[in-house]
Symmetry: C2
Subunit: 535 residues, 2 copies
Amino acid sequence: MSSRPVGHSEKSQLSNKASAFSIAAILGDKLPSERSGRDSTGRSAAAAITVNVGSPTLPPAASALLTHSLATHPLSSTGSETGNRGDSTSPRSIVSPHRYENVSEKSPSAMDTSEGKLGPLDICSLPNGTSRNSSPILVEPKSPPLAATNLPSSNGSVEMANITCILETKELWNKFHDLGTEMIITKSGRRMFPTLRVSFRNTDPDTRYFVLMDIVPVDSKRYRYAYHKSSWLVAGKADPPLPTRLYMHPDGPHSGLNLQKQTVSFEKLKLTNNLLDKNGRIILNSMHKYQPRIHIVKKRDNINEATSITNLDAEEFRTFVFPETVFIAVTAYQNQLITKLKIDSNPFAKGFRDSSRLSDFERESMEGLIQHHTYARSPLRSYGDGDYSDAESLKLRESSFSKVGEQGLDKNGAMMLPHWALWRPSLSAGSTPTTYSNIDQRLYAWYGSMYGFPATAAAAAAAGIVFPNLGLHPLQLPDNLRELRNAAAAANAYSGLTSSENSSPFLSGSHRFHPYLVPDEVKREGASLVEGCRP
Amino acid sequence: MSSRPVGHSEKSQLSNKASAFSIAAILGDKLPSERSGRDSTGRSAAAAITVNVGSPTLPPAASALLTHSLATHPLSSTGSETGNRGDSTSPRSIVSPHRYENVSEKSPSAMDTSEGKLGPLDICSLPNGTSRNSSPILVEPKSPPLAATNLPSSNGSVEMANITCILETKELWNKFHDLGTEMIITKSGRRMFPTLRVSFRNTDPDTRYFVLMDIVPVDSKRYRYAYHKSSWLVAGKADPPLPTRLYMHPDGPHSGLNLQKQTVSFEKLKLTNNLLDKNGRIILNSMHKYQPRIHIVKKRDNINEATSITNLDAEEFRTFVFPETVFIAVTAYQNQLITKLKIDSNPFAKGFRDSSRLSDFERESMEGLIQHHTYARSPLRSYGDGDYSDAESLKLRESSFSKVGEQGLDKNGAMMLPHWALWRPSLSAGSTPTTYSNIDQRLYAWYGSMYGFPATAAAAAAAGIVFPNLGLHPLQLPDNLRELRNAAAAANAYSGLTSSENSSPFLSGSHRFHPYLVPDEVKREGASLVEGCRP
DNA sequence: GCTTTCCCACCTAGGTGTAAAGCT
DNA sequence: AGCTTTACACCTAGGTGGGAAAGC
């Protein structure tokens, strides 16, 4: 029995290049002339929609804020909507990932009941430049209303409500967003590009946090791309909802101190269309629109099973949404401009670049953007290290392309409208605006997705959404606050019992396996541990 | 200002191949006909020298065992020896990594005072086959004397003394060991090959552990390689000792349950000769002989600064030494047979393989070994998954080479003696046997080496060494038990305060930076945190 | 007709020993 | 003369989109 290393495919001689078309429209987007938040560092920060999730232990001021938010904005219950899909949202049905394989398909028609009820997102109605430079009014570092008091929570740490989340490489996200971001999903899993990278402010240096990400449907529609119109169209109702997996950042928990210094990158997260995926990748429906979300959960000290049970309601967490990271999942790129932008900005796609399509000036600008994106990945960056000259010069260069305008030309020379009007009404050419109001409410707590254990169900637990410039907005409606709280508790319980030992690529270190690849034994362990937390 | 991605070197056309010489001597080593310990799984397990480090909380039976060990074997104090080098061993001098830059060079002559005092290691006198199949009499899974009772320690967990550590890919280590293992050290850091991979038995499933590794000098000598004799010679006294860094496995802490299922691989550990290294790589002197060691430290629950201080003496840990992993650090390979074996067994060196030197049969055998080594890296392996057919067939194949004998031919056709006689007296051709008796005793607790903080000094804290077949052996003498205990406490304190968040490659995920590369800010944080634990 | 899958060329990132140059 | 450093060819490992083929 001769055993050989896994074979490597031999290279052949054919070189395929991407078809040529103008990238002017891609580059021709005005960049903000100032950076929100952290001017001194040069870091580009995106405005975040913050989802404040109240905890019973909220201090008076924070609770008042939350209450105010709830009172001044209509938070219509979508219980009936989510209830119709509720089989998969009940905690009991999420004990095992396999439960999702025959996920409920009840009442798909109920998914659209709230469509348009609350109108388009206000943030989308803002002038382009304004929306890109918006600062969260609640938590932005420059003038956080609660920063002066720095209200301690019941356990003595800095209040969660003060925490700010900043989207890195926002310029790149904006470029994709303007075209209509597409993300490839494959059976074996595909990374996102751009990578979602965030940093935090106002975390308590002495507190430890988990950072998580999930991706929720934006609406209940299925889309298709009209090539002749170069735009996305609604193709019908959404396919049956999939298990929403919560991806816990494998490095967690993080100290609040380091969260202030280091960028949290979700570059290892992978998207798949494989409903049977057992590797913790996030499962999405192709041709559906999705919104990534970032959650930060305070880690409790002295975790053990008893406290996990008794203090379930004391969990504290916070959710952030960046509208510019919305995307449509695809199995193959639809919009050629997206393909082009991916090729020109993702280093791994460099082999498809065709320098003949770009002038030296364009090439230089593009590489600046790439450099910026790559640089942001370094774990060594700290604020104020003054290494942002690239970003500086990039903006000067890119702004020179603004004359090209928002419209580009397709490969046939036809005028191309911006295709992402659905999400950027200010750029719309007549499409029916879609809202976030019926984002899927359920947040299945599957903290063990990459660790192997399905923790507990957690519906999207938004008590209210604070828009950076507009105050609270009902981006997501409250479904079951306790669910996300349970999920947070599960994260803490998992941390206390097994930590991140299954999430690191170093434990046994085969490069052939991803850190989220966990043997079934481990998955069972995790599952049982979580079960133990929920008597 | 055009910024471009880091340049990649262009490939040229010249192909350099390793010089050809026979590998028969390398392959011609009889392998053990049985596996120690885990026959049912097919996993090859190496005999470990276990260094029992007593804890004040040891239960009666374990303490009795330890006492017996101490009583029946001479544990002469080497306090004077280590005391002469003591500046760098005092906890106070290890607060900062920078302290090491001018490490003490006092009394180098004192290093050899115990040379030969205890005679050669008995394990080296064993018949070859016996030493390779030896099972630790204390802790080997098949008949652990204490397994039946499974004595709980004072905190209710399974006793540390029961824990067994097993060296993976022992066959490969033995092949190198027979030739005289050399490990390249470079300024930028070089991985070890073979990689040190261990698994554990009898860990408490509900307890969490840190797994650490350090590399300590075997003796106080400097070596040189005599090409004309194809053997290593003593070249004089050792260079001034270097700061011994404790490398904490970046995935820790691990649950005892997973430690029983998964192999802990130290493949990311790097060796360097750069005394100013700030990246947590292990610093070694070239042309010096070293012994890797594995430490497992029980993680305490409910870590906080108070308990870290008050319970310092309650730390529980255990140290394991595998003599077949001894090596000489080199900046360039000396023994061409080592070069050949590395090329033929390290997948990354495949480009230097010259198939003309090997028959198909030899090639097949070598690849089986490689496959085995690679396979052992998978984090997904669990015991009893029956995938060891490669290892099985490998042994059959390799045994057919035994006729070649222990001696090979150098490239000139001259008879080559085994060069590692110093460590394998049974293979010796007259070299003066060297012992482990004067292994450097000091174990500097530099848990923060890759995390950025030098925790505390910890001398090699051996209360006694249990040889698999021979009982206790004074491999290492007790210097300062409390030091390693402090180091363990520091590890726990670090875990409680910052966990492994600096150790993972995913936090910001640049592939250009290793997980141990931590910005100075983080290092200061870690250092101060540890300082806080040691008032 | 539209969507998905698969294999592939071509990248990034980085782990090897080589050979020549550099150092002492 | 012996040891160390450096650039580099050549690997492993795996992330890209292309395009043909397969589904559906």
